[in-house]
Symmetry: C2
């Protein structure tokens, strides 16, 4: 009989969330972790800093769940109501927990300060709750076990830097013990760049249903397509087998050169590219016009990128293209800055100057102004200069300035990947 | 008697949200708009694509609200359950709405296509509901009026590009008419960069409570501090007066040179900076090491930045610093790349080469590797070369690579703003 994942409902507290001042990023992060650890999140909620609203959110969540996880509202101020609300809901009056108080005092002591009187509030927790140590803040968390009337409840502070290690410890400790019969889950993803989602979907349409123990999902975000295989079963071995079968079926439909990364973790195109260039001991230079430094920024986001990234130019003006990249002024006059001859000259100039093995160049019309009938907003020319010579290609992107620049950035990185691996820039999956 | 804002509960539907594959960005965007339009959002919820879960979310939301807004689940597939769930909840059976069907057919016709049979599903809406035209997708929205048993309910499609114009139209039309007695709201913000939140908080502590018709909130995110004045009253004139009073009280405590922008809309530091440089007809060049192009990227995000941004260098290697910015090799040898003499030489080299009025340079240790006892991870040197000469300053930032780089970027932009306005780089608010 298959194991059923315990049902979890999440509650985020704070008027700053219900008023839209901050996004509720805890809900997403918690959902991912809980899914991977064999739970099933069946609902999110956010409530303002109001006793009745929080109590009502907890009661609603309790009706259809095995576990409630509530974040925020454990600070030392009078706005921090979660301890009191949970005490009332669970019928377990607050009492001062000496271990909790000592944790808080110790935290202040290590910073050479006395504990302010207000912070004693944070040591009051519902009787019979299990304290969770907070190594990164003053608010202890706590776990209340399920009983006949109520599901279990885990209270965590709001900041992810505080609750993430607390949740991990709770899953290996009291929370894990409270839900021993969870299924095993594994996530395995394949990553593609700048292939239309509908095209990818068309290739693997027959694989979405009827995969034993596996679920396949396409996630698309700004030119990054992720094929996510989520396997659920009683054992890791079974998950591995089911994942492998589905992964191989995908590989029969999508040739490997389109997949820039695959594996259990998440992966970005810049990180894959830096790893690939490090592995092949090749170096990169960039010459950017419309992307304005975004490509260099993405590459240097990656730790260790200094081993492959030699230099970047943001040649926004024609003067800079001529002076820094030795683009001949006659070409600019004749063809304009957004043209094949100019991106070729930019890439070759950057490669020559920097001494890098590969140089990438981009010039386009990001908008909102600057478009023409011949070169509408969204027109972007790319070139890659490499030991094999220089190739150039043009794309037309739809959207606003931000969208065009972000697509141009990921397209440029994908062209660089293809150049390194000698994959033709224009090859695409059959539609 | 003050007008009470109608209470709204939001529901986002989709298993991709409860599983954490995407963040629920609709909840935040809707909350902001509804707050500004005189409503009060008293709860968010997200439910998976499951009939019972969605129905239960609607019932829970109905208990304490005047209006429910539910997004998603209006597509043409069998996963799209919201029409059926809402029909059951409202006791208004679905019927095919001829106007809705014609809208959908017309949309396909304009693209030269026949309407696929599946899309007829989208024309089925609860009887007595008011149809909302969707100009950007196939799913019509609809509004169900409140009755004795139930609050009003507005059903919208998931993509913001579709629901945003539909919500705006509904607020000016049937939704606005259904809630005529809303208060007027105005939002006015003051923006500061790289001043510790606790310092700002200390300056204006006495202004948080007791402001008639106004609420003051500090919002901090990655070095950007926003002081948000939300005024609520029966008239715009009263809001303006209350806002002005609180704004002036803030101005007495925070000198104007610390405020990079203020006004009713949102504003970023790069956008303010580009506007300021355009106004003063001055130009910018950048020379980046550890920020790797992020400063140039942020400046060129701004439409019209080509008028002020002349050139940028990403001189990640010492070779590039020497070759492109004429940094003397002896300085690099003697002081290392992260040092005052090097950032000075970088800024002066960039200014000289580019011919820009102002040149900004950054060199630091972003980590995770490369730190030393003398120059720990987070050490960042900045210089600005200008017609007045060159100034340099060092900061130590805490956090991971991403945090250090983002703080260094906003700090650099703030130093550039101060240089243009001749504000001393090291001046700060009294703690």
């Amino acid at each position: 009989m298959p194991l059923l994942p315990p049902r979890v409902r999440l509650i985020s507290t704070g008027s700053e969330i219900t008023q839209g001042m901050y996004a509720d990023s805890n809900a997403q992060r918690l959902s991912v972790t809980l899914f991977e650890r064999g739970f099933r999140v069946v609902g999110h909620a956010a409530a303002p800093d109001d006793f009745a609203a929080i109590l009502s959110a907890i009661r609603d969540a309790a009706a259809h769940s095995d576990l409630i996880i509530i974040t925020g509202g454990l600070g030392p101020t009078e706005d921090d109501l979660n301890r009191d609300v949970i005490a009332q809901w669970s019928n377990q009056p607050l009492h001062k927990d000496d271990r909790a108080e000592e944790m808080i005092r110790e935290r202040f002591r290590r910073r050479g300060r006395e504990m302010p009187l207000d912070n004693v509030r944070q040591a009051f927790i519902p009787r019979h709750a299990t304290i969770l140590h907070n190594h990164w803040g003053t608010a202890p968390g706590f776990l209340i076990s399920a009983d006949e009337q109520r599901p279990a409840l885990l209270a965590l502070p709001g900041p992810p830097s505080e609750w993430q290690p607390m949740l991990a410890a709770a899953l290996d400790g009291p929370l894990g013990h409270a839900f021993p019969d969870r299924p095993r889950r594994s996530i395995y993803s394949l990553h593609l760049a700048m292939i239309p989602e509908s095209t990818v979907n068309g290739c693997i349409r027959d694989l979405f249903a009827g995969q034993p123990g596996c679920e396949l999902t396409i996630l698309a975000s700004r030119g990054h397509i992720r094929l996510r295989i989520a396997a659920t079963s009683a054992t890791d071995a079974e998950n591995e087998q089911n994942t492998r079968r589905l992964r191989d079926a995908i590989a029969q439909r999508i040739p490997p050169e389109f997949i820039f990364a695959e594996g259990p973790g998440d992966q970005t195109l810049p990180a894959s590219l830096v790893a690939l260039f490090r592995q092949q001991q090749k170096t990169i230079a960039t010459a950017e016009s419309c992307t304005g430094g975004w490509i260099a920024k993405d590459l240097t986001d990656v730790p260790g990128s200094s081993q492959v990234f030699k230099a970047g130019w943001v040649t926004y003006s024609n003067d800079a293209k001529i002076r820094d990249l030795t683009v001949p002024p006659t070409i600019l006059d004749r063809h304009g800055a957004v043209s094949e001859p100019v991106v070729r000259a930019m890439a070759e100039g950057a490669r020559e100057k920097s001494g890098a093995d590969f140089a990438l160049s981009v010039s386009g019309v990001a908008g909102p102004d600057g478009g023409s009938e011949e070169k509408p907003v969204g027109t972007v020319w790319f070139a890659v200069a490499s030991p094999q010579g220089t190739t150039a290609i043009k794309y037309l992107f739809n959207g606003d300035r931000e969208t065009i620049r972000s697509f141009a950035t990921i397209q440029a990185l994908e062209l660089l990947r293809r150049a390194l691996l000698k994959i033709p820039p224009e090859s695409t999956l059959p539609d």
